[in-house]
């Protein structure tokens, strides 16, 4: 029970000193070990994938790239080994093709790394643009209310009627060949609805608060009130749902690529690697496991980071814990 008291004390004493809320939130997030570990791991994965095969002008250290064909070695089997020799294994070695080779001989490690890059890119673009659109729509609807609100929310409803995967498939069928950037940007325009709803409800309650009234009396313009006064107070909702949107984005992109509507050849997507190789599951399972591991891994890391952010912004859910712990302390 010792861990309980210092944290609470620090929080309250800082609050009394009038520390900025942003710092408090940051401290809460940094002290969340799980979320921080996930954030660090995520950054490491991204840096690793970019440094391995390079990205744009950045050169990579790995000898193969994700398009050129290589002679099939050992039936394309994965050469990565972590069992040292003194345990009877082939030693800790990368080998020529650590993740094996695809059926036509492309280095699978390079393909997987390229898939990770594309997934992260899609995640960032959809998360960024989707959040931007959703926030603007939600902010305007919630601030102006009345017919503006009804019109914008009906538009949101119209998009919500069509499942994201269905409209995403149609969009992907249209622009999938135009590259990752275009695909992700357009997918963002079918993924902003939930954020718009959340931001709107946040704005609806915040606009009735006294500080907004004060700003209005002081003569602030609508734009200033929206962006300078209300939005900073709603930023928690925005950031948390942006992270969760990013996690949904990677699943959406891989699912679309799996169905053949996402990223197309010669570009690589983790989802397409799986759909290309699902028939080879019994004979060459590594073609399936590596992309699967990274899809789940990336989504899981982002989800944990999002959860950590939610706890940092809104520690209310912890109340029950404190109460229970106090009871526990009193009993013992």
């Amino acid at each position: 029970m010792t861990s309980l008291t210092p944290e609470t004390v620090v929080e309250t004493s800082q609050g009394v000193r009038g520390e900025r809320q942003g710092k408090l939130i940051l401290r809460r997030f940094v002290s969340n070990k799980l979320a921080m570990t996930c954030l660090v791991l995520y950054v490491l994965v991204v840096v690793f994938s970019v440094s391995a095969i390079g990205f744009g002008p950045i050169p990579g250290w790995w000898k193969h790239n994700y398009t050129s064909l290589n002679p099939q070695l050992n039936g394309g089997a994965a050469t990565l080994s972590v069992v040292p020799e003194w345990l009877g294994g082939p030693g800790v070695t990368l080998g020529e093709h650590p993740f094996g080779q695809s059926r036509i001989g492309v280095d699978y490690f390079a393909m997987t790394m390229r898939g990770i890059q594309n997934s992260v890119l899609v995640m960032l673009i959809i998360g960024g643009i989707g959040t931007l659109v959703g926030t603007v729509v939600g902010a305007i609807a919630g601030y102006y209310r009345g017919w503006v609100d009804s019109a914008l929310m009906r538009i949101t409803d119209i998009f919500l009627v069509i499942p994201a995967l269905v409209i995403g498939a149609v969009v992907g069928r249209t622009v999938g060949g135009l590259g990752v950037w275009v695909l992700a940007t357009l997918l963002a325009f079918v993924a902003w609805m939930s954020i718009a709803r959340l931001v709107r409800s946040e704005f609806l309650s915040l606009r009735e608060r006294e500080f907004v009234e004060a700003a209005r009396v002081a003569g602030a313009s609508d734009l200033r009130i929206i962006f300078k006064h209300i939005l900073p107070n709603a930023i928690g909702v925005v950031i948390v749902s942006a992270t969760l949107l990013a996690a949904t984005a990677i699943l959406l992109e891989t699912a679309l690529s799996f169905l053949g509507y996402g990223i197309r050849s010669p570009e690589v997507s983790l989802g397409r690697l799986i759909s290309d190789n699902q028939s080879a599951f019994a004979t060459r399972p590594w073609l399936y496991w590596w992309p699967a591991l990274f899809i789940v891994g990336l989504a899981l890391l982002v989800n944990f980071v999002g959860d950590g952010l939610r706890d940092a912004f809104d520690p209310r859910q912890k109340r029950f814990k404190r109460r229970k712990m106090r009871e526990h302390v009193e009993q013992s």
């Binding site: 119209i158 009627v161 399936y288």
Partner: protein, 514 residues
């Protein structure tokens, strides 16, 4: 309330029309519907192209063509007039004739997974909230985050490769469990039970030992008697299960000290047990309709008995009566299905490999109601599980967060302060308010499930609506895409509507505003 409902329906129709326009224009611009003909070297390719352009009105620009489609679709609103016209597919079939066959398996898949996900999610959510920060809670949190991050195509492929093939091999080669498996399952079951029951260390240890050992013993017995090839509950097993159900329902809903509930549950259990013997003859010649009617009668009898013996607490006893009657009727049915299991797996086409990985039924299969039902059960089991797992995570999280939130409110403290037992506080006071966020989640989740069905049907090759959409989009076959869109949009709107009504039922404040 009526005006509210009417307004909602009107707005929904407008939204549906607007969404159909967006979908139509997007889908029409997604590719070239004449692609296959342009690439073909058939001597009459020119004529074929002209014919298709004429049949599908491809010379009309998409926004205007949408009006043609809409006027045909509007005919569907006129009942019994047979004016429904959703256009032709590329291969000249009427969309209205191919939609209904495709619709059935998808609606079945989505609604069964939705209902099961809600029930399981709420149960697990309640348990994790009540045992917050226990091992079970922490592991369920990890599991649900994992499921959140798991794309449905991965789950589907994994289930296919491991569960289906593994179980079939188990049944075909050697349908007995090894000692290790028996002990392992016993330990896991014991661990789960000790968390559920809770209490101090000694009590948990006893619960762990008893439940683990009895599970292991039961499994060893089942394995030794070849139960997996010829399963049945039998009169004794059924009696035990029905009694356990009756006692469990009473214990959870109203407490064993509530005599009237106990009486109602007992009478219902007895009726169900007698029916088990009386109805076997009727079951042999039953169809789906008979079963549905019997089920309705069972629930009606259960609620009726609750009403008669309810005294001053009718709502409670009626609930208990309905649940016990429904549950024990389901047990009797399960027993009857089990009796047909052996017939099913020894059919030459099944040959002890019952879990199918492709399709929604064995093609050309013709047998009595029970065996046919088992056939579609074994086909839809894995797709349903793969859909269910994904939305299950969401319901667990929402139910857990909801209950934790409610348990902090003042009225719960009041209820505790006046000395109510914890069970009453949770079941009668907290439970209803906990369901409010769940109602909102349902509306969002239906869209995700319908989207997920596209992938699941693709992986398991089920000829449902998702497959129809997928195949049509590949060929830019506009009319079936729009037919698919109509069905899922109406489903999504309907579930939204049900969720809103549930919201109004659960939360009186909403009712006032409406």
């Amino acid at each position: 309330m009526v005006s509210y409902i009417l307004r909602r329906i009107l707005v929904s129709i407008l939204i549906l029309i607007a969404a159909s326009f967006i979908m139509y224009v997007l889908a029409a611009n997604s590719g070239d519907p004449l692609m296959d003909l342009r690439a073909s070297n058939a001597p009459n390719a020119e004529q074929l192209i002209a014919a298709r352009v004429a049949a599908l009105d491809l010379d009309v620009p998409p926004p205007l063509r949408w009006f043609l489609w809409l006027s045909g679709a509007a005919g569907c609103l006129v009942p019994f007039a047979d004016m429904c016209n959703l256009g032709l597919t590329i291969s000249n079939a009427q969309v209205t004739t191919i939609l209904p066959t495709a619709m059935w398996s998808t609606v079945q898949l989505v609604s069964v997974s939705l209902v099961l996900a809600i029930i399981l999610g709420v149960i697990v959510g309640i348990v994790t909230a009540l045992r917050q920060y226990s091992g079970f809670d922490v592991s369920m949190t990890f599991v649900s985050f994992f499921l959140y991050s798991l794309p449905s195509f991965l789950v589907a492929v994994l289930l296919k490769e491991f569960i289906a093939i593994g179980f079939n091999n188990f049944l075909q080669v050697d349908p007995t469990l090894s000692a290790l498996a028996v002990i392992g399952i016993g330990v896991i079951v014991g661990l789960i039970w000790q968390v559920l029951i809770g209490g101090n260390f000694r009590r948990r240890l006893v619960v762990f030992g008893v439940s683990g050992a009895s599970t292991a013993a039961l499994l060893a017995f089942l394995s030794a008697t070849g139960w997996f090839l010829q399963p049945s509950l039998g009169p004794i097993g059924l009696l035990i299960l029905i009694l356990a159900l009756a006692v469990g329902t009473v214990a959870i809903l109203s407490g064993l000290s509530h005599r009237r509930s106990l009486i109602v549950a007992g009478i219902n259990a007895a009726i169900a047990y007698v029916c088990y013997f009386a109805l076997q003859g009727l079951f042999d010649i039953s169809s789906l309709g008979t079963i549905l009617i019997l089920g309705l009668v069972a629930v009606a009898v259960g609620v009726g008995i609750g009403y008669i013996f309810g005294g001053n607490d009718r709502a409670q006893t009626m609930k208990v009566g309905g649940i016990v009657a429904f549950g024990s009727a389901a047990l009797v049915l399960i027993d009857r299905f089990m009796q047909s299991w052996h017939t099913y797996i020894s059919l030459p086409r099944i040959a002890n490999r019952p879990i199918a990985t492709v399709g929604s039924s064995t093609p050309g299969f013709n047998n009595d109601f029970w065996v046919t039902s088992i056939d579609s059960f074994t086909h839809l089991l894995l797709p349903t599980v793969s859909l269910l797992l994904i939305s299950f995570a969401g319901y667990t999280r929402y139910a857990r967060a909801g209950l934790l939130e409610v348990m902090n409110l003042d009225y719960i403290r009041t209820a505790r302060a006046k000395g109510l037992p914890e069970r009453t506080v949770i079941v009668r006071h907290a439970f209803r308010n906990m369901l409010i966020p769940i109602a909102t989640l349902v509306a969002v989740d239906v869209g995700a499930l319908l989207g997920g069905a596209v992938i699941t049907e693709y992986v398991f090759a089920i000829p449902g609506m998702g497959q129809l959409f997928n195949a049509s989009l590949q060929r830019v076959d506009l009319n079936p895409i729009m037919g698919y869109f109509l069905v899922i949009a109406i489903l999504a709107i309907a579930f939204n509507f049900i969720a809103d009504l549930a919201y109004a039922v659960l939360d009186p404040r909403v009712r006032v505003r409406a």
